[in-house]
Amino acid sequence: MKAKNVVSQIYLWLLIVVLYAPIIMIIVFSFTKSKVLGNWTGFSFELYRNLFTGHSGIGLNNAIINTVIIALVAAVCATILGTLAAIGIYNMRQRERNVLLFVNNIPMINPDIITGVSLFLLFVALGITRGMTTIIIAHIVFCTPYVVLSVMPRLTKMNPNIYEAALDLGATPFQALRKVLVPELLPGMLSGFILSITLSIDDFGVTYFTKGSGGIETLSTFIYADARKGGLTPELRPLFSIIFLVILVMLVIINIRAAKKTKK
């Protein structure tokens, strides 16, 4: 049993090492000012300084701002839309529920390129100029299904009578939603929200087809355009090193807290 355990552990850690090798490479080379990734020209904080003083170029700065705005707006909209939808779906008859959940699955199963191309054709056919708004709509499309699926399990676990009880005690439907349903569903909403942010920030395929030619770039499309030109803006290295380390520290803290709780 012991030997088997060791082998399993080694296998997992090997996978982890391979998975993290490119990230470690990015972090290591964020501390040298060479333009090319993989070319060490001595230790330097210059890229970090450039990033924080805005000397990394207007393109990257705008891409960062756009990415954050799109992720926040899309995640908030998806969370509201998806939570209401989950409550509605939960109270539907079997048939309607199945139809809606089937359509809800489509954006999750479709690869990015299909979602992107289909929305692209819709916007072209309707004569809608592509830009920030179309990107946000597209991101709501692929984020909301995950919110719905995160909130649904909380609804099944919830006592179905407490909403009615609130209404019987004189709460308006809106008050009952705010004071009874939302607190019960909050964990599901939160994980849906975080998942939406993650998906939105990492998306490339859908954004690529819905951003139009107005010059709006997110980090993904900015990196792609950069890679096509042959050079990669070096400040991207410190940027993602920071994002990665912040998330890592956050997760470690959450895990330690959870471990302490279970021990107690």
Binding site: M1, L19, I23, I89, V141, F209, S220
Partner: protein, 264 residues
């Protein structure tokens, strides 16, 4: 009673905004793909786009090649991912949560940047940026999407079934083959959906990892859509992909399994 039923029906209607949203931005765009695919650029109905695909040898070859690459990538992901998910979900492994987090964490660093770093790592070690690099990079990018659903299904397995099998005299290998593996098929199935189609349709990853030497089907679609004049051809190619997605979903009895294994 009438008050109760009216309340129920009102909560059911909370899903209507999302239903409307799905019709507008999921169903209508897919209909757009169909409409564009069967029209030429002057607006008359035609099958020419499909005829063009089946007679253009570069495009059809690229399509078959992409399917092959996607099958290999999916198989590698299952072979590498299943043991990892199994080890993580098995009871005698004490830090499954941390491991699950470690496998998702890399997704916070933009996948294009990670792909660029992978390409640099390959050049650093003097490895050629060809098929091997492409398969490595695709596996690297999609492995977490295989591990996670499998991990989810194995973790939710009813332990009493395994105990019953053991009590009835099954060897560990028999327990695995006759109980664990069949019951984790939904997870494998949703893993396949998460890996196979995105691989066929990827364009950025293959372009970066092979320095534009190898193009997958996604590049063909992207080039057609971007050219402006071959919009209808791009739509026809997308429709072909949609049909394949539909078929893969049908074969595995689609949405139910995908939901059970769920990535969420």
């Amino acid at each position: 009673m009438s008050k109760l039923s009216s309340l129920l029906s009102s909560r059911r209607s909370w899903a209507w905004p999302y239903a409307l949203f799905l019709v507008l931005f999921v169903i209508l765009p897919l209909i757009m793909i169909i409409i564009y695919a069967f029209h030429d650029s002057t607006g008359s109905i035609t099958l020419h786009n499909f005829a063009k695909f089946f007679t253009t040898s570069t495009d059809i070859n690229r399509f078959i090649y992409s399917i092959g690459i996607a099958i290999i990538t999916t198989l590698i992901c299952i072979l590498l991912g299943y043991p990892a998910a199994y080890i993580m979900a098995s009871a005698d492994f004490n830090t499954p949560k941390l491991m699950a987090v470690l496998f998702i964490l890399p997704m916070w660093v933009n996948f294009l940047l990670r792909t660029i770093a992978t390409a640099e790592l390959f050049s650093m070690f003097g490895l050629p940026l060809r098929e091997g690099a492409l398969l490595f990079g695709l596996t690297y990018d999609f492995l977490p999407f295989m591990i996670y659903p499998i991990y989810n299904t194995i973790q939710k397995l009813d332990n009493s079934l395994l105990e019953a099998a053991r009590d009835l005299g099954a060897t560990p290998a028999q327990v695995f083959i006759k109980v664990t593996l069949p019951l984790s098929l939904p997870g494998i199935y949703s893993g396949i959906i998460m890996v196979f189609m995105p691989t066929v349709s990827t364009f950025a990853i293959s372009e970066i990892l092979t320095k534009n030497n190898i193009h997958l089907f996604g590049t063909t679609i992207q080039e057609s859509i971007n050219s402006g004049t071959m919009l209808n051809y791009g739509a026809a190619l997308s429709l072909i992909m949609l049909v394949i997605i539909g078929l893969t979903s049908l074969i595995g009895n689609g949405s139910d399994n995908a939901r059970e294994g769920g990535i969420v």
